[in-house]
């Protein structure tokens, strides 16, 4: 097992120190890369991927305002394997976050929504995954020129 790493020195400390000297609190032994923590850290790390994707999108919009030649050059750059790889990472991140979010979402519902109880988890799963697949299919159809 890895050596102990201290937690915040005031973690779970009482507001007034006790009469006995205490050893400082340690972090959970498997944090951040062991057990389920890895999944949680990856989930949070996808925020970096989304930030980069946002910057790429801003760059594309910027080139759009610089005329047709700049736009064509930008489109050419996007076919670079590094961009393709980046977009595959983006796709993997979105799928990972979606699956994790969908698995946790049903139990975060309040006991009642207005006068009614929330539907069973299976209804949430079907609804969320159904909406995801439906919206993806719609976007693919738009991008492929099938609509508009």
């Amino acid at each position: 097992m890895r050596p102990d790493v201290p937690a915040h020195p005031h973690a779970m400390q009482p507001s007034k120190p006790g009469s006995t000297r205490t050893a400082p609190p340690m972090r959970p032994a498997k944090f951040p890369a062991g057990g389920n923590y890895l999944r949680y850290m990856l989930f949070d790390a996808t925020g970096i991927v989304y930030m980069l994707a946002g910057l790429v999108a801003l760059g594309i919009v910027w080139q759009l305002g610089n005329g047709e030649a700049a736009w064509a050059a930008q489109m050419q750059r996007l076919s670079n394997p590094i961009y393709v790889l980046f977009h595959l990472v983006c796709l993997a991140s979105v799928i990972f976050v979606g699956v994790r979010f969908f698995s946790l979402f049903p139990k975060a519902q309040p006991p009642r929504i207005g006068p009614a109880k929330p539907p069973p988890a299976v209804v949430f799963f079907v609804g969320l995954y159904g909406a995801w697949i439906g919206i993806t299919a719609l976007l693919v159809a738009v991008l492929a020129g099938g609509i508009f």
């Binding site: 937690a7 915040h8 779970m12 009482p14 000297r21 050893a23 944090f31 949680y40 139990k107 975060a108």
Partner: protein
């Protein structure tokens, strides 16, 4: 006829800390002849009774009710009276729960937990108590279902030891305290939700939770504190929005 009990020797690496002598905790190794049906707590009791009476740890009921014997076993927060020896290999590391100051050996300081626990007012609050002759407060099975799961918490503090936010934010109320506050907010007999939601909306409360879900993974009683915390977030937002719209707030 005699019954022969098979025993296997296992190595226990146990964290030791004497506040009068040690600057930092250290480990001590014990060879323990374990029975297959033992729990980790049985092995610690063997060490205490037969090998080293100076070893300090908390335990009481031995039946997963009192919540005293929570410790870190091979890096995972476990209720040691529930944790079977046979689920581990030949070496078992036992340490105090993570995220807590250590008083001695495997004994953690839980006054900080008790302060957080009390801050959510974990009792029934009524604007006006009913007179005894008016009878008891009645509740339907459906009303009981809304909070029963969250009332199963035994305050073993494993959820605090697993939570990455507790390790970083000392002011975070933490899973068990929020779960208990939410339990009373969801109780049809209670009228103190507005008071508790004020606590929930403060710094280091429900919105500090980043939904790592580790509290629910380690909970030995399947209370699902992550569900309670995230339901409490929803309720705190509704309560805040209501307080803006209605003339007398959400009271």
């Amino acid at each position: 006829m005699s019954i022969s009990i098979e025993k296997h020797k296992k190595t226990f690496v146990v964290t030791r800390f004497d506040p009068d002598k040690d600057e930092v905790p250290k480990t001590q190794t014990y060879e323990v002849p374990c029975q297959d049906d033992w729990k980790v707590l049985d092995a610690l009791n063997f060490i205490k009774d037969e090998i080293d009476p100076t070893l300090s740890y908390r335990w009481s009921c031995r039946m997963e009710v009192c919540g005293s014997c929570g410790m870190s076993v091979n890096g995972e927060p476990k209720l040691t009276c529930k944790d079977p020896i046979k689920s581990y290999g030949d070496t078992i590391e036992v340490a105090p729960l993570a995220n807590f100051p250590v008083v001695r050996d495997l004994v953690i300081e839980f006054d900080g937990f008790m302060e957080k626990f009390q801050s959510v007012k974990p009792w029934i609050i009524r604007a006006k108590e009913k007179a005894a002759e008016e009878g008891t407060y009645r509740q339907t099975p459906a009303e009981l279902d809304e909070f029963k799961q969250f009332s199963m918490c035994i305050n073993c503090m494993l959820c605090y030891a697993a939570c990455p936010v507790v390790a970083n934010e000392p002011e975070f109320l933490g899973p068990a305290a929020i779960t208990l506050g939410h339990r009373y907010n969801s109780d049809s007999r209670d009228e103190g939700a507005a008071e508790r939601n004020q606590v929930f909306r403060g710094e280091g409360t429900v919105f500090s939770c980043s939904y790592a879900n580790e509290c629910s993974e380690v909970c030995p009683k399947d209370v699902d504190p992550a569900a309670a915390v995230n339901q409490a977030k929803f309720n705190a937002v509704i309560d805040w929005a209501t307080s803006l719209v209605l003339p007398r707030g959400s009271k």
